[in-house]
């Protein structure tokens, strides 16, 4: 049985801009929140699985985040690695939109 999810409000939807991830810490976890289009929001671990760089310092292209240092790429929707430098995916966190408030679950 899974541990219960703790939901925390991280931002209002209108504070999130596509192409500009919001980096934050929830407890000990470094997480980045990404907006795609009108109302899709995703939350990924912000630590590259290769050499622990901060992914949100990187570059977004084609709905993937490219690590600023060694160009590892991870799908923003799924956290899946594109196989550059590392095959280890980044962890994803559930996101809920409650009205215009964005909640991330850890």
């Amino acid at each position: 049985m899974n541990d219960p999810i703790t939901w925390q409000k991280v931002a209002r939807l209108d504070e999130l801009r596509e192409g500009e991830p919001l980096a934050l810490k929830l407890g000990a976890m470094e997480i980045a929140v990404y907006r795609i289009g009108e109302r899709e929001v995703f939350a990924l671990s912000d630590v590259c699985t290769h050499e622990y760089a901060v992914l949100s310092d990187g570059f977004i292209e084609d709905e993937a985040i490219e690590c600023p240092l060694h160009q590892a790429r991870f799908d923003i929707r799924t956290g899946k690695s594109h196989g550059i430098c590392t095959d280890v995916d980044v962890r994803t966190f559930p996101v809920e939109l409650r009205g215009d408030d964005v909640y991330v679950g850890t």
Partner: protein, 350 residues
Amino acid sequence: MFLRNTWYVAAWSWEVGPAPLARKILGESLVLFRTAGGALAALEDRCIHRGMPLSRGEVDGEIIRCQYHGLEFAASGVCAKAPGQDRIPPSAFVTSYPLVEKDAVLWIWMGDRERADPALIPSHRYHSEPATFTPTRGIMVPVACNWELLNDNLLNLTHVGYLHKKTIGGNGQSHAKAEEKTTRSERGVSLDRRMPDVDPPPQYLQCYDFKGKVDRWQEVTWVPGFIQIANGGLDAGTGAYSGTRVGGAQFFGFHGITPESENATLYFFSQSRNFKLGDEAVTELLHQSTLITLGEDKDALEAQATRCLETPARGFADLKGDTAGIQARLIVRKLIDEERQAPARELAAR
């Protein structure tokens, strides 16, 4: 392997007059000069006759005359006269490179001549608007390191608080922890750094009165061969990050990074400012401070280059502050790969 299709700084305008200037760029020995009529010339520094450096010769009117047997070459590289005969062999020409003057700088194109568009030359208005900006006199510092190490140096400014404590540093930690954002484009990288609410560094305090803490910024704009750094400070909370800066100590650095050869770089630098315009004592102060700072960089880069050349197989660990430098190296690699795939062109005089 160098990137050829880009404009590089060859010299400051003030460096090139009727006396020939010998300079090596991208591993090629060149002679730079200005004719009596004002034409600019960059020729291969090798007389086609028997290989004598043309820089040992003299400029006379519109030609340069070789010291050895007196062959004369125009700015275009065409042989205008071969002493002792009327007919000049078709092979008697020297390679010439486009050399264009802009904003007190001479820019050279070492690549495919057809692509040498002067509209691509970076602007640096701070050299050309004395009513608004006062520049220091441009200097050139040769550094015995590969040019990309100098790019790395200027694109990772977390070094400033440690290497340059005495001049522009301030506090090491405030540099290492500055808020940074790197953006990139096809041929360029921008790095924006902010250091809000910090003590002004010694260099600022020597020439400007702040009320106390300052909001500092460094905005680095890199394209191959040229880096522009806007930096400075405003009294804390007076709009440094608002998009419009009024007053304060604002500086605009010109950094021309020209590969001399594989492990040698020509580093061209000037510093312009928006305050105490025309005040020669301040200009001299900044000039002297610049010499110290650049001397610190030169010394450190040469030590780094030596060690890296000794250890070609040993790797590197990248840190947060390396992002902009890494992106610049990727762009250079991509551009060089693109050049390699283009068909070779025959060198010809015009």
